[in-house]
């Protein structure tokens, strides 16, 4: 069923990216903190998982949470650094962070140099190797978990704290929100999700190298996040799906991926910064009219 595999592969990639973008969405969409280096966290998760399974022989099921944890911890570091930085300095720092991380991946032998790490094993569940549809099932399960996490976040005081920081940091302080603590959390949680995605990515592709996590990938993740709609639950997966599917549907776009990502970013930011599903967006208004017309409340 070669054709079927094609769609399964596509879905798997879409969901893996969606998870990383959901993390970015939490940092940027909810807490309003610019992060132009999300790919670095994806890489941290991927390499952690790769090293733990190939060099230490640990099981995927142990490596997965540890990958999220390692990214989470580095996220705490970046978050701590972010506290004292204004938005433009912060943006520069996250870019620098991406570059430093990739340089580290390329430089130290444990990461496999320019070739990276290969032979990353598939996860094994009850003696069965998870491939194809089964792997998609795994990724889907993690995706659903992240959606639930996101839904919970939106409803909790944590989410409220994030949003107050995004809207106005000083006012947030004045109502008792310790901006320092929550900025650290915003980066850490966003990073942790990317770490999860990284692990799933590594065991899907079965090989990872520094080049998978360069700055251009951060821009790709950013464009997915902005396209879908910053601060929404389903924006990330929509953005991810569109950006991955477009070059599949329009073959010529394949060679021009980065042009596509950047052009989309530029156009969106210029004309519809809230993204496709964001507050007051064209799509959201149309959906509201439709649902309203069908008799559902707003």
């Amino acid at each position: 069923m070669v054709v079927g595999m094609y769609y399964i592969t596509l879905m798997t990639i879409i969901l893996i990216y969606a998870i990383a973008v959901m993390g970015l969405n939490i940092t940027m969409g909810y807490a309003g903190q610019v992060n132009l280096g999300q790919a670095a966290f994806l890489g941290i998760g991927a390499f952690t998982s790769a090293i733990l399974t190939t060099k230490l022989g640990l099981s995927f099921w142990v490596a997965l949470p540890l990958s999220a944890l390692s990214a989470f911890l580095v996220g705490i570091l970046l978050g701590a650094v972010s506290i004292r930085l204004r938005y433009d300095f912060l943006a520069m720092t996250t870019i620098g962070f991406n570059f430093i991380t990739v340089a580290i991946f390329l430089y130290y032998p444990i990461f496999g140099g320019s070739f990276g790490i290969a032979g990353i094993p598939r996860p094994v569940l009850f003696g069965l190797k998870l491939r194809g549809p089964a792997y998609l099932g795994l990724v889907a399960a993690v995706f659903v978990l992240c959606v639930l996490l996101n839904l919970w976040l939106e409803r909790s005081w944590l989410g409220m704290a994030f949003e107050t920081i995004r809207e106005d940091e000083h006012a947030a302080q004045a109502v008792g929100v310790d901006v320092r603590k929550f900025k650290i959390l915003a980066f850490a949680i966003g990073a942790g999700m990317a770490g999860l995605a990284g692990s799933l990515y590594a065991h899907f592709k079965m090989c990872v190298a520094y080049s998978d996590f360069v700055f251009a990938r951060s821009i790709e993740l950013l464009s997915m996040c902005v396209l879908g709609g910053l601060g929404t639950i389903y924006g990330p997966v929509l953005g991810s799906a569109l950006i991955i599917l477009l070059p599949e549907v329009f073959r010529p776009l394949r060679a021009y991926r980065l042009i596509m990502h950047t052009a989309i970013l530029i156009l969106l930011i210029r004309f519809q910064p809230q993204g496709l599903l964001g507050r007051g967006s064209f799509l959201q208004r149309k959906l509201r009219e439709l649902l309203g017309g069908l008799g559902f409340g707003s």
Partner: protein
């Protein structure tokens, strides 16, 4: 000397705030008595908002200290000071623009939830909604509860700021020019609200005001600042006749003739 200072809910001691060469606050000693409405007036640039910023923790004092209910609070993080019971509004309003009025106030109801690790809980509980709504009704914004804050006209934005500060259950409320930009009718309403907050809820209020009528009408006691120094203290009547105050506002020539 101050017996009165012992009933002080807030006290500053030799408070200085310098920005490079500029002395925004210069050895300011004031105290605020529990349950009073204290007015802070002074010409532009006198240091009134700087005083608020230092008290609420947004600035660290260059020298001196601030004591709240006997505890030294100067140098503490603003979020901690807010939690200790000092609420404030801002001279230029800072609403959470894209959140609704109700959410703006609920945000402040977080209080203890933001500390430690209890931020896991859901925020939109019936208790919290009820508490927020009652505050919103108190300030007269009930009709706007579900509107995003950015659509509010200026008068309502200032009410929202007061509502948000109230949700902290403060013992001391710092109001920074709460009536600026309002119509005469709105000023009446806000003044009434301020009085009610003190009379019915026992909140001590510190008020910075440019509108002299409002300041004198509301305050039990006042301080006058000029160039970062306290130049006068007293009841509104005393302040009205104080030649130093008149000089500060109108210049030397007028003081002699009053």
């Amino acid at each position: 000397m101050d017996l009165a200072a012992d009933k002080a809910i807030l006290r500053t001691e030799g408070l200085c705030k310098y920005f490079g060469g500029i002395k925004a606050l210069d050895h300011v000693n004031i105290h605020v008595r529990r349950g009073e409405i204290l007015g802070i007036i002074g010409p532009n640039g006198a240091g009134k908002t700087t005083l608020f910023n230092v008290v609420s923790g947004f600035y660290k004092p260059t020298r001196g200290a601030v004591f709240f209910m006997g505890r030294r609070i100067s140098g503490l993080h603003p979020a901690k000071i807010a939690r200790m019971g000092i609420g404030r509004t801002f001279q230029v309003t800072r609403p959470f623009k894209n959140l609704t009025v109700l959410q703006n106030v609920m945000a402040a109801c977080g209080r203890d939830a933001y500390f430690g690790l209890s931020f896991f809980r859901k925020y939109r509980t019936p208790e919290v909604v009820e508490e927020a709504m009652s505050i919103i009704e108190d300030v007269g914004l009930a009709d706007y509860a579900d509107q995003p804050a950015k659509v509010l006209p200026i008068g309502h934005m200032r009410r929202l700021e007061i509502a948000r500060a109230l949700a902290l259950r403060p013992k001391l409320l710092l109001l920074d020019e709460p009536t600026a930009g309002m119509s005469a009718k709105e000023i009446e309403e806000i003044s009434g609200l301020v009085r009610r907050l003190r009379d019915e809820k026992g909140i001590t209020i510190m008020l910075v005001e440019h509108n002299m009528r409002v300041a004198m009408g509301l305050s039990d006691r006042m301080y006058v600042l000029n160039y970062g120094k306290v130049i006068a203290e007293g009841t509104p009547e005393e302040i009205r006749e104080n030649p130093l105050v008149i000089e500060a506002y109108l210049g030397r020539g007028y003081a002699a003739g009053s």
